[in-house]
Symmetry: C2
Subunit: 365 residues, 2 copies
Amino acid sequence: MNTGSRRNFILQAAALTAAPLFTNMDPLFAQPAGKKIGFALCGLGSLSTNQIAPALLKSSNCRLAGIVTGTPAKAKQWQTKYDIPDRSVYSYDTMHRLADNPDIDVVYVVTPNSLHAEHTIKAAKAGKHVFCEKPMEISVERCQQMIDACKSAGKMLGIAYRCQFEPHHQECIRIARAREFGDLKLVEADFGFPIGDPKQWRLRRALAGGGALMDVGIYALQAARYITGEEPVLVSAFETRTDPVKFSEVDESITWQLKFPSGALANCSTSYNAAGLGRVRAHAQRGWFEISPAFNYDGIAARRSDGKSLTFPAVDMFAAEMDDFARCILESKPTRVPGEEGLRDLRIMTAIYESAKTGRAVKLS
Amino acid sequence: MNTGSRRNFILQAAALTAAPLFTNMDPLFAQPAGKKIGFALCGLGSLSTNQIAPALLKSSNCRLAGIVTGTPAKAKQWQTKYDIPDRSVYSYDTMHRLADNPDIDVVYVVTPNSLHAEHTIKAAKAGKHVFCEKPMEISVERCQQMIDACKSAGKMLGIAYRCQFEPHHQECIRIARAREFGDLKLVEADFGFPIGDPKQWRLRRALAGGGALMDVGIYALQAARYITGEEPVLVSAFETRTDPVKFSEVDESITWQLKFPSGALANCSTSYNAAGLGRVRAHAQRGWFEISPAFNYDGIAARRSDGKSLTFPAVDMFAAEMDDFARCILESKPTRVPGEEGLRDLRIMTAIYESAKTGRAVKLS
């Protein structure tokens, strides 16, 4: 299969599994051909600094057009570095003025998890499309509010599930859908890392909503869902905290199992206190395929049991996901990572926490 | 650490974790120095034919001294091939006559799972030590009967957990105990294969007691226990059958999670309908180590996150485990794989089946 037809397959598969078409589209938002979509980064932490802003420079369809930050000193640095005019610099309190800025099409929300709804809703109300970091928010209810706000505003909402734009992951999805090794029976997926600074916001429940599961386990959950191409119907989970001081507010390590309608199972793990996690391995009737490392920013590698190549050139996943979102805007197409996709993960993660607490498997509708 | 001290460490660790010393030892059973322990194979299926008998030829302390079979034609073939005298050939009905045969020290029970108790008890009553294939039996009660019978007879009982005698596994146990990468937080282990002939005894509940879990999942369970060096206190599991005809009597695919007293978790999987299973991966605070493939008869390979070598020459695990059992007999030492070890796995597997059925985590005492 050549690259062209493979790409077509992936696009078709994405279209088939995407959320319902975005129907309440702003009639004024059709863009002139060749225009680069202007992104404002909302939240200038390390992810924006080290990954997203550099990716915007590499992207084809996007440009860094503005910033939203609570730290004036940061604003100055960014303005100098990226040539951002004063009129495109906002604080969290002045985000409503985005409505007057035609240079900015998308607000990319990169603030701590529990602020995503507030910043998404502000951006939508200011008439901007929203791209939002994972996890989408810290509760199903807030995810729904974000979806509703963007729908009311006639704006697109996308969740930054970067691995869905990574070619090894895309090819594994294709292998699974094409049943190249027969029906999929088991997916194993894990992600985690030993977290450092005990004072960071990721360890504070009020800002993060949860720990390893919400931050990195979500990658394993995503992989289990997009590799099987199914939604789980049953989940059970265990949680342990071996360092109750550092992990006094959020989860340290969680294992969980998912049962899918086809009978496929997924076995997943995450930890903020263990090294070497970050793999997806899919076991089908007649063979297997795996991505390892699967979720790092670079160095993604994959292999399949028949020895055929499963190697692709490295891509900047942040550039890829933003370019895709920009294309969706320019071509009035739905994104493959809509708010509904983020909400689904929140619903499942909520069930994982519930099962870990009660010791009972939780049914998912 | 040189090989000598490493070996000492492993032996010490094994001694520390072994079952209580075998106290009711037959005073007559001390063997002359240099004597090879005579094994009778009970059950001449493919495992005996292709693995165990050839391993006896390679062993240092053992010899194939007799056979127990229900098939006279097989007896003739084996007698010719291995030069076994008529007086050392038994049927399942004449096993009591083993009592009169000084050439045979050990009966190695290789019959279908649900016959292990019957054949073990017959051998013990005939005054023979017993080495028994895994799973030990199909219920905790029968395992206890086997233990009791051997204890009453003053004979050793060992379970054929061959991987405990494999150097990559032994070294991983050492790495874990020495905390070379800090505390262990998560073990992932899986084993399985697409099973062939739908008419084989392994798919019949009456003979096998269970399916993938009892046959091969037990390797993953063992690994989770000997790598952590702990006994699980909580288990939850999912089971699915996607081929209800082939798997009308026994389990096809099972995932399960274990929680250990230290807070370590294990995430395990098994299947009779998926390819590529057979790994152990251990995640500690500062690094990881893994064995993959972990459970095959050969080709075992392992690696560790710091890149240091984790490679050993291949060993015949069947020869190694029988040689060790023979040494234990010759030196009046306890085996590291006593009946109590087999019973522990049966107890946990029973809990796994219960959890898969009820959807609730099961506490283990």
